[in-house]
Symmetry: C2
Subunit: 125 residues, 2 copies
Amino acid sequence: MGHQTVTWDDELVPSDSGRTVAPSANCPVEVALAAISGRWATLVLRDLMGGPRSFSALRAGLPQLSAKVLTERLDGLVAQGLVRRDRSPGFPARTAYALTGAGLALRPLLVELYRTGEALLKSTS
Amino acid sequence: MGHQTVTWDDELVPSDSGRTVAPSANCPVEVALAAISGRWATLVLRDLMGGPRSFSALRAGLPQLSAKVLTERLDGLVAQGLVRRDRSPGFPARTAYALTGAGLALRPLLVELYRTGEALLKSTS
DNA sequence: CAGGATCCTAAAAGATACTG
DNA sequence: CAGTATCTTTTAGGATCCTG
């Protein structure tokens, strides 16, 4: 096949860091995985891709997801800078969750997840 | 922006199945996620992208990974049809693990994971 | 060489009830 | 409305020792 200009390793491993030999927080792959990990993460992200959502709207869209787990997911996404939490003062409380620019950057990854999953389903059937 | 011909939902939700409201095994996204989930899955897959590997070669490449966990990962990948296990008869035992066609189909997803992770790292720094 | 068998710990998820 | 507090269950991962 001749020599390729770009190999898997070229794309996956920074040339100055050597080969990844264990899961490490500063590996790009791990960073991306952290964003979509957790049983409900992709579903929450999908809902947010449609625009800002309130806590209750997210719960309504994902009926089986408990408040506790949703809070945990959201906290994680906020901590990673993927989602912004906007609290409106007053009572009853109102909060909107919206994707940040970094959060929006996940869209191609989610699309690729879907695409790959479809391909796997076809090759299996 | 005008109307788009393809929206997130168009790509992510089959039109005949309604909206996904809980993690479900027949959702393409879940299928793809299953392939790359587990603390070491992406690292094992990366090694296999380089060609067939023996059990020991995989262990040597991932020194911190225990035999048990590697076996679990490999069993999962085989069960999903992503990896083929080729046992050579005789003693000592010899086994080669190789990606199937379906397994090779994961490459773009891994590349996208890397790409997205890099983007996130940049937007954070 | 390539695992299987056990036991243990930690983290994630779920159920339920309650509060600012 | 938007969470918090607890408690219980589930699951992934790791350590160690053993076997075909």
